[in-house]
Symmetry: C2
Subunit: 408 residues, 2 copies
């Protein structure tokens, strides 16, 4: 079960004026579950998106980038789960375009005004007929489905739907923000995670929206890892419908910062939810590296710790076998690291300093911290002012089970 | 159990003239097992060594480097299992030096003529008294123990002892080579693996020996990974006693190449044995990447595949969920990779080309290859002449079990 996580209740998810949601059961991979989502937008909306850096990026990622480059107003997003439409070559591109075309005829816009998204198994042909057959039902439901339904409709190995809402006041006007995300395995985002959609009713200028999304993603989805595998389908979209009273006209100033920080808070909540619901997760770990020469070296060390199967299995076992963390710090590729200056803390317990175990450290203290479901690992490099935080989960029998049996 | 692996029988391990082995049970971590090894060398021997690049390298690695820098003849190596003496700060260095001093008084040489090695749990104090108490028994046994005993005495989570012998004729003279190695987890060597010792009775000039070791390690221990964790204690040592008839006087020429290739063959055998006995391994995978612009990019892609927990769990399940391999190729960091040129083969089966699944590919063919305990994954990049090979194993429940319970 997810670590320290309660899904947001349906009634606490705030509708966004100018966004209409529709879901259906299209039987894409398994019957009896919502697996197709349409998000329709008012024509006033602005939109910004970031995508995976994986060279084998999915067909829908390629098509979505093409459509965004047209700079026509985007009127709808279509998201299927159960099939990633990645590693599918030319046929995959044809299918992704066909899905956009079908939806565009149903909602009366150009195909280029639709963005496609897919998630699920890689290198299997997209079941195009099932998806196009499901689209009319989605469109009929537009406005009847809510964000809770939408979060459910994009799940794969996720155990819980991930959705969060927030309100912020911008120059006396309330802006509402709601976001959903999915992801549980193949999580090591490199630009964005495997499908996050965040919407606000504020009116936001396109360049401000883009800056806001990059900021939010850098602080959230780009700070998590479950298994170190960067997905072919990562995408995060920020939509601003302009239907509420709040206005942000440029990428600076108090109004911009207020909305940006609220969007970032939603993104962090969703990113952490993905880790809490990481495949097989039993622990939620915050890895904080401080006092580095650069953010890059702090991130390299934090990710070395967060990716180490030896560290992750020790956390699963609640075993303070913390020498494995020192080993990970040591192989993170920081050639001039002076290990005698490094301090390692587990929660509030000083574990190591001066190249070895701290004189004050007692195994019982480490044991106490390791028992908790939520653990902070803090590494002080004591050589500069930079820092970085990464969130991750442990590595359990269930991770192996889930991924060994994924297609069965 | 190790994958497709039969340990070399005791009687097939060839003694090396000028090398004397002694082992004992020093009760370092658990009673009733050989855990302390002394390798004594004739004064005619030359020696070369490579060590881990981990910044948190172990105290014995620091001390061994110091002693080698003195350029005095090395007369003995001492190896304990059960404790890595890594992450142990100043006390660890004192202990490593004390082990050398104790042994030097027993065999009548200077402390600087002894090299220490340790393997086992990190960040726990070395049980110095147990080791010094065990040294006299090792020395009494010198010459009575054989390479099979020596291979057993350095095991940690290894299930099987790893040792191999080979003879090669150099200008009419027979050279004998025997090597041992240990390692099963925390295996992603960056210079050498966690403890390999190779000896020959040939007489080899120091610079030739150094070149020979670097060549052998680059082709063997630096081509394997179990879990992507680079150890704090990696070390590989090549010893040439000069007690046989064979001679190699420089790092070039036919004699050099003949001995170098034989040493490399022993090193490859040992490196593959480590992967076959990888923690929890049920499959042995050869990842071969061909047609790259550089060896570095081929290695980056091979390691991305070999490290992916998703790929490794799919192999454990014998599930040809091969899109995960495409995803790993895509995130290996080759920015200008043209995925439409990439071909993926599983054994002799063409799986993917032109950015997607090959038209000829049938799941049943992939399934057939996946059932075997030994699998070759071949990636043709079709953009250059470089290639690289990496050996790895799958990721099973037992890997999690072994590492969750390691200290209990």
């Amino acid at each position: 079960m997810p670590v320290n996580f309660t899904p947001t209740a349906r009634e606490n998810l705030l509708p966004i004026q100018g966004i209409f949601l529709g879901v259906t059961e299209a039987n894409i991979k398994k019957p009896g579950r919502k697996d197709l989502l349409v998000i329709a937008l008012e024509s006033t909306a602005t939109i910004s998106a970031v995508f995976t850096q994986n060279r084998f990026c999915a067909a829908p990622v390629i098509v979505a980038r093409e459509h965004l480059a047209r700079e026509q107003p985007i009127r709808a997003l279509v998201v299927n789960t159960g099939n990633a439409n990645a590693g599918t070559g030319a046929d995959g591109l044809i299918s992704a375009r066909e899905v956009c075309r079908e939806l565009s005829t149903l909602i009366a816009c150009a195909p280029e005004q639709v963005l496609p998204f897919s998630t699920g198994v890689i290198m299997e042909p997209l079941p195009l007929e099932k998806i196009t057959a499901g689209l009319p039902a989605c469109v009929r439901h537009l406005g009847k489905a809510d964000w809770f339904d939408a979060a459910q409709a994009i799940m794969t190995t996720d155990i819980v739907p991930k959705a969060f809402s927030k309100r912020v006041t911008i120059a006396g006007q309330i802006a509402t923000i709601t976001g959903i995300a999915k992801g549980s395995g193949m999580i090591h985002p490199n630009m964005a995670t495997l499908l996050g959609f965040i919407a606000t009713d504020a009116r936001v200028a396109p360049d401000a929206l883009q800056a806001m999304l990059r900021h939010a993603v850098a602080q959230s989805f780009n700070c998590i890892t479950v298994d170190g595998d960067t997905s072919t389908n990562d995408a995060c979209v920020l939509m601003a419908t302009g239907q509420g009273g709040a206005r942000v006209s440029s990428a600076s100033g108090d109004d911009y910062i207020a909305l940006r920080d609220a969007v970032t808070e939603v993104a962090i909540w969703l990113a952490q939810a993905i880790v809490r619901d990481g495949e097989g997760a039993t622990k939620f770990m915050t890895i904080r590296v401080e006092g580095g020469n650069s953010t890059a070296e702090c991130r390299a060390i934090a990710y070395a710790i967060a990716h180490s199967p030896l560290v992750k299995t020790a956390f699963f076992a609640s075993d303070p076998n913390l020498g494995r963390i020192l080993a990970a710090i040591g192989y993170a590729g920081i050639g001039d690291l002076d290990v005698s200056k490094v301090q390692l803390y587990l929660g509030d317990v000083l574990v190591a300093e001066q190249g070895g175990r701290a004189a004050s450290y007692r195994e019982a203290d480490g044991q106490r911290v390791m028992q908790a479901p939520e653990i902070v690992v803090r590494v002080a490099l004591n050589r500069g002012a930079a820092n970085a935080t990464v969130w991750t989960c442990d590595f359990s029998y269930d991770y192996v089970k889930i991924n060994a049996e994924y297609r069965s």
